[in-house]
Symmetry: C2
DNA sequence: ACTATATTTAGATGTTTATCTAAATATCGA
DNA sequence: TCGATATTTAGATAAACATCTAAATATAGT
């Protein structure tokens, strides 16, 4: 759970997740949306992957990333719990 | 929004929010739940306050903190959007 | 006004993090 | 197998962050 929140604490990584919400993208396609270097994007992708927020699959020369909504749902649960009635859970 | 996620990325701060979900607490009462120093807790409270996740009110010698669920609801919205159907919004 | 209690501010320190460039690895097509 | 393309790994650096102790501020009660 901590890995999830840590991963989501960076704006670049949240934007990557938003991009992947639209459609699966290769590492290069993701990098093209940003003005930071490819190695930096690769680093962010790795953090998201370790948090299991995204998954990757090689397709020929490219590595294609996709969203894992399961983990996002878990984080959503945390927020729902915080908003639930006092003392509940 | 970034302040919200940054604030929630620390486990101590998430725990503080969970404590305040149960009931309002003074800074000292909050600090008693942790093994870190009072100034460190004060620092965390300040970060949560700047993110508007909590609010404070002086009551005599104490300063009592309470949750602001409005901002939590905004963050919840981000997650709901991520889970919504592809391309939506 | 003085003392005790509650909390924050100031300043220092070690760790983590985001970023970069350069080099390494992997795949594809000719 | 060679050259081009795609991505990651390695190593360095500067900024951000969590924590500490000591000192400052604020309130309350006597």
């Amino acid at each position: 759970m901590n890995d999830t929140f840590k991963a989501l604490s960076d704006p670049t990584r949240r934007q990557i997740i938003q991009l992947l919400k639209e459609r699966d993208l290769s590492a290069g396609e993701i990098a093209n949306h940003f003005s930071i270097s490819k190695p930096s994007i690769s680093h962010h992708l790795n953090i998201l992957k370790n948090a299991r927020l995204i998954q990757d699959e090689r397709q020929g020369q490219s590595i294609v990333y996709s969203l894992n909504t399961t983990v996002i749902q878990e984080a959503l649960g945390w927020f729902l719990n915080m908003i639930g009635s006092k003392g509940e859970q």
